[in-house]
Assembly symmetry: C2
Homo-oligomer: 217 residues x 2
Amino acid sequence: MADCVDQTTASTRERIIAAAEYLFAERGFAETSLRLITSRAEVNLASVNYHFGSKKDLIQAVFDRFMDRLTAELAIELASLRQQGGKPTVEAVLTTFLRPLQALDQLEPNGASIFMRLLGRAYAETQGHLRRFVLGKYGHVLAEFTQALKQAYPDLPASELFWRLHFMLGSLVFAIGGSNALGEISAADFNEQVGLDDVVARLIPFLAGGFKAPVTR
Amino acid sequence: MADCVDQTTASTRERIIAAAEYLFAERGFAETSLRLITSRAEVNLASVNYHFGSKKDLIQAVFDRFMDRLTAELAIELASLRQQGGKPTVEAVLTTFLRPLQALDQLEPNGASIFMRLLGRAYAETQGHLRRFVLGKYGHVLAEFTQALKQAYPDLPASELFWRLHFMLGSLVFAIGGSNALGEISAADFNEQVGLDDVVARLIPFLAGGFKAPVTR
DNA sequence: GTATGTTTCAAACACTCGTTTAATTGAAAA
DNA sequence: TTTTCAATTAAACGAGTGTTTGAAACATAC
């Protein structure tokens, strides 16, 4: 149970968020009760409603915490990409958007995997409430991703770019979200210890190869 | 609500399964109550436990129904692929495994999308009970997929094939599972009406391009 | 017709859930 | 010290959950 929040000194708010993000990613939103969260965080049950208002608000708070750290890192990487000038390679664009994810992993054990699983669940969740919240508040990230890819491959039709972007997102969420489980299989079957960096290193040529594939219509 | 089960003549069992597979895909397993299922199927609440035993058994029954139809189609396609002999192209292998999914869509409106969403949820679900059930009972499908890809690209290291297979799975689940929502965006933004066949047509070059990408270690 | 076995039904069961309440604690401000 | 306000606590609330029950309805065979 290696949370990066010091359970002895951390505030009640922080301990709730730390426990919640782990359990939400591990078990899902509906399957994670407030009692499970508060007992893991060793705080009183009512403190969730006191500090966050409701369970739904807690879920959004967990997302906000991740997205804030992510967008901060992403702004730096994007600036660095633009500073280089000229037409970026697809690989460079992918690296730009993946590095903040890797940074998340250093900030907190399995941070990237946890966040990707949360993102995957948000897309699947009931009626898409959470998906709309995430897209509404952080849709600009997707837009910047789209724009950067457009610069790397200007001839690709907009609709094709749209679909390939989502194909890539699927690979990302699936592979990084499941990197722990897949990594264990990889270690057992191929005697290869793979961490997040290795997964990303394998992902980039795959995604770039798919993205640059000829359009056959 | 266009289910393909005739609600007036279909047996209670069939009506429950039809309602359940739609609601499970749309809302998730935990978020779908037996009362919601039985009221949609217009049957008595207790009939689920009578015919299936428990909610968990119903979930497995829904999967079995999909997988049985899928593996039947897949056996035909695989035989056809092997009959051609020689080294298959990656595109041919992908087509082999995607056609049964498309067949599912003709058998039942949105069948492929529903099944992919179910599969995505199964992978994410609590503690992976369902994932283990699916992998245990239908893991041979994944093994055959792996083997066919190996024939198409013999030089690709086994571990690299393993990871690229799962990258492809991620794209598949994400894109086909969300094909309805993504199709609506595509129709609105690009004036392009896209059905499942169009998504598959776009997927194949993307996946093949990724799979055939050079290995950079 | 009666008997037999299957299927349906309304009602209740025990349980968990998110949320609320009112009392209590703690520490800083007056 | 007294006041004040934020934070914590135990307990309860009402709603919703999967499941069980025993009787009723149905169909089939004798």
